[in-house]
Symmetry: D2
Subunit: 353 residues, 4 copies
C-alpha cells in the first residue's frame, strides 16, 4: 500500500490555513503532519491555538503548532508545504523553506512577480511548471521550489477567457468585480463598513488583476517568464456584502470575434490538465454555463463542483467591446485552499513532489 505524502501548513491558524487543514482530511495522496503559525500560537496544540482565537475546527486538534521559523523540524516532518502566510511572512519565510529542501505551494502574493516563479492555474498554464529546474538552479535550491497561485479575484474571469483567448485572441478586457468578504481574510472587513454598503476599492487588487493574467498567459523565454503582449486589461474592484464568491462583469474584445454558439461550445468542452489527469480535487466540468437570465449568483452557484468550477452566465453582445458575460468563482475554495491543493496534486502527478 502506498504511503501518503506528509504535508505542512504554514499559517495554519489563519482562515485559509484552517481551510487547508480541513480540506486535507481524508485526502487520498496527502496527509497533514506539520503545522506552523505565528509566535502567539506556537507551542500549543492546534486545538488550543484555535480556541484562543475563538475558532473551532474539529480536525487535527492534537498536532502541535510550530513557530514559523522552526524550519529544521519541517524538513524532517514533511515532504512539502502549503503556505497560507500573510504577505510579509511569505516574503521572509517561503524562500527559507524552499532552501531547506521543501517545495512550497503558496497562496501568498509575495513571489508572484518573481520572473522564475510560476503563477499556476492547473487548467491554464501547467506547462509553466517547466521553469522549476531553472528556478532551483538559479537559486541554488536542490529539492525545494516555490509555486504560487494567482490573486483570487481573477480566476472568475480568466477561466472562461483562457480558452477563448486560445481560439480567438483577446485584445481587451474590461472587468468589474464584486468581491466577497472572505477575500479580505479574517477579521478582515468591519461589519460597520459593509452592512448596507459597497466599497469601491480594494488595495492592490486592480493592479494584480491587470498584470497577473498577462504572466499566466505568457511563456518561458530564457529561463524567465515573459508576459503575454497585445492584451489590455482594466479592472474595477469592489467589495460587497457577500460572504464567499467573487462575481465579475466582463466585456471582451477579440482579434477575431466569435459567435455565441462558438463560445458556449468552447466553454462546454473545455478541459485542462487536472481533468485529463483525473486529479482528486479537479472539477469534472471546470466551466459551467447557466442559461437562466439572472445567473450566476454567489449564494446559488459558489459551491458548484465543490467550489472548484467557475460558473458563467448572461453571455451577450457588448455594444462597446465584442461580447460580455458574468462569471463567478468561490474565492475561498477554488481561489484559495482548494486551488492550492489542486496545484499540489498537479505537481505530484507531474513528479515535482
Amino acid at each position: 500500500m502506498r504511503t501518503k505524502l506528509r504535508v505542512g501548513v504554514l499559517g495554519a491558524t489563519g482562515m485559509v490555513g484552517q481551510h487547508y487543514v480541513r480540506l486535507l482530511q481524508n485526502h487520498p495522496w496527502f496527509e497533514v503532519s506539520y503545522l506552523a503559525a505565528s509566535r502567539e500560537s506556537a507551542g500549543k496544540s492546534y486545538a488550543e491555538a484555535l480556541a484562543e482565537k475563538g475558532c473551532s475546527s474539529g480536525v487535527m486538534l492534537t498536532l502541535p503548532v510550530h513557530r514559523i521559523d522552526e524550519i529544521a523540524a519541517a524538513s524532517s516532518e514533511c515532504d512539502f508545504v502549503f503556505s497560507a502566510l500573510g504577505p510579509e511572512a511569505a516574503l521572509e519565510y517561503e524562500r527559507q523553506y524552499a532552501a531547506a529542501g521543501l517545495p512550497v505551494v503558496s497562496n501568498a502574493s509575495a513571489h508572484r512577480n518573481d520572473p522564475d516563479v510560476p503563477v499556476l492555474i492547473g487548467e491554464i498554464n501547467p506547462e509553466h511548471l517547466a521553469i522549476i529546474p531553472e528556478q532551483q538552479k538559479k537559486r541554488g535550491w536542490k529539492k525545494g521550489f516555490i509555486v504560487v497561485k494567482p490573486n483570487c479575484s481573477l480566476q472568475s474571469y480568466l477561466f472562461p477567457l483562457y480558452p477563448l483567448h486560445r481560439a480567438f485572441g483577446i485584445k481587451k478586457i474590461l472587468v468589474t468585480t464584486m468581491q466577497a468578504l472572505s477575500g479580505a481574510g479574517y477579521p478582515g472587513v468591519s461589519s460597520l463598513d459593509i452592512l448596507d454598503n459597497v466599497i469601491p476599492y480594494i488595495g492592490g487588487e486592480e493592479e494584480k488583476s491587470e498584470t497577473e493574467p498577462l504572466k499566466i498567459l505568457g511563456q518561458i523565454e530564457n529561463g524567465r517568464f515573459v508576459h503575454a503582449s497585445g492584451i489590455s486589461i482594466s479592472a474595477h474592484c469592489n467589495r460587497v456584502p457577500v460572504a464567499d464568491g467573487h462575481t465579475a462583469c466582463v466585456s471582451v474584445e477579440f482579434a477575431s470575434k466569435p459567435t455565441g454558439e462558438e463560445i458556449l461550445r468552447i466553454w462546454r468542452e473545455f478541459r485542462g490538465a487536472p481533468q485529463e489527469l483525473g486529479l482528486p480535487s479537479a472539477p469534472l466540468q471546470p466551466i459551467v454555463y447557466r442559461e437562466e437570465k439572472d445567473r450566476p449568483q454567489p449564494k446559488l452557484d459558489r459551491h458548484t463542483e465543490n467550489g472548484m468550477a467557475v460558473t458563467v452566465g448572461r453571455l451577450r453582445d457588448c455594444p462597446v467591446l465584442d461580447i460580455r458575460f458574468v462569471a463567478l468563482s468561490h474565492n475561498a475554495l477554488r481561489g484559495a485552499a482548494s486551488g492550492g491543493i489542486l496545484n499540489a496534486e498537479l505537481l505530484f502527478r507531474k513528479n515535482y513532489l
Copy 2:
C-alpha cells in the same frame, strides 16, 4: 402674498408616492391637494390607506385618497400632478390627466420613448422643454403635457459624463452598476434572494441605461427628439444588498482625451439651470468629487446635498478606454421623488406650469 400651486400625487401610497408627499411638506411653491391611488386605497383617508399597507407616514393624513380614474376631481383640485404610477397605470392614465388639462411630471417609464416627451434632467437638457408646445399641439392638449425623468440608474454616471461630453466628446461608455434595493420598489426584492448575494440582472435596466442617455444628449429636430449619435454605451446592471444609492463603475473614451486636472475642474465648476435659477431643491454643488481612495460609498455619500448631488471618486486612467471613475447617486431621492420635484420647479420657473 403668493399662493402655492396645488399639486396632485398619483400613486400616492406607493414607496415613491410616499416620498413625494413627505418631501412636499413645507415646499415653498407647491402644496399637496389631491392624492390618487389604486382601487384598494381609494375612498379612505391617506392615514387609513397607509395603515392598511403597514406603513406610517405622519403627513397629509386626513386627505382623502381618490381612485386613479377620478380625473375630473383632479382637474378641479390641483394645478399639476406628479406621477409615481407603475408602468401599466402610467401608460393608461398619464395621457388622460394631460388631456384633462393637467401637466404630468412623471417618474414612470411609460412615455420615455415617446418622440415628443422630454426625458428631463434639469442640469443637462432644460432646452428639451421647448418641445412641450409641439407635444400639446400634436396631441390636441391645451394646458396638459407630460414630462418624464430618466431611469434612476443612469443619473449616477450621466451627471458626471455630461459636462465632459460637452467639452471633449464621448465615444464609448462602459458602465457596471451596483444598484440599491429601493430601486425595485416595495416590497421589491425578497430578502431571501439578496442576503449574502448579488443578482447580476435587473429586467429592462440595461436596455434603458443604453438608450435613454442618447435621447437626453440628443436634440429636437422637426418637433421630435433625435438621439445623439456616435456614442456607444454598454451597461452591466447588478442588484446588491444596499438599501439606497446606486453605484456605478464607469470607463469612458473621448474624441479628445482630457487630463485629470481638466476633468476635475469641469466637475468642480459644473452648474446647470437649477443652480443658475436657484431652484429650491437644487443641490448647490451638483457633482461632488471625493479625494479619498475608497469613495464614493452608498452608506456614506448617498445623502450628500440632501441626496440631490452625485458623488464621484477614483478618477484614473483606464487601460482599455481613456479614463475611469466611480459615481453614486441616491436613486430614491435624486433618482425619484426629489428629482421629480426639481423637474417641476424648473417647469414652474420656465413658466410651463
Copy 3:
C-alpha cells in the same frame, strides 16, 4: 426487493414543497409520484412551473403538476401525501385528501388545534399517533388521516425542554426567538424591511408558541387531546436578517431545580423513537450541546446532523427563573420538510402508512 411507497407533494412549487421534492430524491422508502400546486402551475411540467416562478430545482423535472383539487388522480397515483400548502388551501384540501383515503403528513397550521389531530415531534410524542383510529372513526375516514408538525419556531426550545420536563417538571418558560427569513416563506420578508433591522413581531407566532407546546406535552383522554397543565409560556418572537435557523433565548423554572450536570447529561443521553427505530432521517444525536461561550449561532450550527439536530449552548443559572440557555434549529429542514419526512418515516415504521 421491497417497492417504495409512492408519495404526493401538495404545494410542490412553494419553498417548502421544493424542499420536499429535493429531499425525497433517493429516499430509501418513499418516492415522489404526484405533484400538486396552485392553478397557475397546474398542467405544466414541474420544470416549467418552477422556471415560471424563477426557480430552478434540478429534480423531478418531467413530472406533471396537478391542480390541487385533482384528488382522484392523487388517490390512484400515490400512497400518502405531504402537505406544504398555505393555511387557507390546507384548511380546504387536507380533509378532502384524507377523505379520499390518503394519509396527509402536513406542515400547515390549519389542523393543529383540532382535538383529534396529533401535532407530532417524533422524539417527543410518538404515542400521540394512537389517536389516529379515533380520528378516522370520528370523521368517517377509512385509510386517510391527518398528522401535522408544530410551528417551526418552537422546535428549537421544546426539544431541549422536553427531557427536562419529563425529569424535573417545568412550571414556567420565558423565551425570546430570533427567527430566520425562510420561516416567512418566499418571497416573504421584503429586503427593504429587514436589511439593517430587526422586526419585533411575527403575526400569530407568539400565540402558536405559547399553546402548541401544551398540546404536544399533553395526552389523549376520551379520544381527544388534553393540554398539559401547570405550565406557563411567554414568547417574544422577532424576525432577524438570517436566512435559515431560528435562535431562542430560553429561561425556565422547574418544579424541582436540576443541576447543570444533570441537565447536560440528560441532553447528551436523550434519544427518542426516531433514534431507537433508526429512521433514515433521524439525527443520531438529537440534542447537541456546544461548550463554546458564543454558540449556537445560526450560520455555524444550523446544518448540524443535516439540519435535524437542535444545537444548545450557554446553559447557566437564571436570576429570575431557574436556568437559561440558547437553542437553535434549522427552521426549513427540521422545522419544515425534513421534519415532515421524519414524521412520515415514523408513521411508516409504526404501520400507519
Copy 4:
C-alpha cells in the same frame, strides 16, 4: 455675552470620540478646545490623524491631537473633559485628569463600580450627583471628579422601567437584547461573523445589564452608593446585524401589577430633570410609545428625537411575569456621545462644572 465652556475629548479619534467632536459643533454651551488620543495619532492635526485611520470627519480638522498623558496641557486648555477612552486607558487616565482638576464625563466602564462614582442617566438619578463632594473629599480632588454613563444596552429598558418602578415597585426583569454592531466599537465585529448570523453572546454585557440598573436605582448612604434591593434581573444579550439601535424584549413583574392604561399614561407623561431644566440635548418626549403592532424597529425608530428618546411598543400581558413590551434606544447617540453631552449639560446647570 457668555463665553462657552472649553471642552476636551479623550479618545478623540475613536468612533465615540468622533461622535463627540461632531455633536459638539455649534453646541450652545460647550466648545471643543482639546483633543487627546493614542500615541499613533498624537502630534498630528485631527484631520491627519483621522485620515490615517481611514476616516473623514469634516470638523475640528486643524486642532492638534495630544498624547493622552499630556494632562498639564489639558488643564490649561479646557474646563472639563469627555472620556471616550477604552477600558484600560480609562482606568489609567481618568483619575489623573480628575486629580489635575478636570471634571471627567465618561462613557467608559472603568469606574462604574466605584462606590463613590455616579452612573448617571439624567432623567432617572440626577440626585446621585450629590455624591460628587464626597468623591472629591475622599480622593483629595479639588475641582475634578468622575461621572460615568451606564452600559449602552440597558438604557433601552431602564428608561421605560424606571417610572413604572417608582409607581408600582419592580420585582423581576427578564430581558433579551438584540444589540447593534456599533455597540462593539470600530472595527468591532467582523463582517464574516455577523452576515446572515446572530451571535448569542457579548462579553461582560449580561453582567453589566444585571448589576448597573441596581446601582442607578439605588441611593447614597454614608457617602457611597447602595444598590436597590428586591429586584432580580436576568439578561440574555445578543449581537445582530444592525448598524445602530439596541432592541430589548422585556418581561417584568411588579409588587403591584398596573393596568395597561396606567403604564401608557405614565410613559406619556414621564419627564425628568433634563426636560424640566430644558437642557439643549434633552428629548422633549423621553419615552415615545408606538401603537403599531410591529414597532419599535431599529431602522425606523432609532433616530426619534435625534436619537435621544427611547421608543417602546407592543405592551401586553406576560403569561409568566406581569407585563411585557419591546424597547429601543440608539446606542451610539443616547447610549454614548449624546448621552454623555446630556450628562455634562445637567452637571453644568447643577453648577458642578
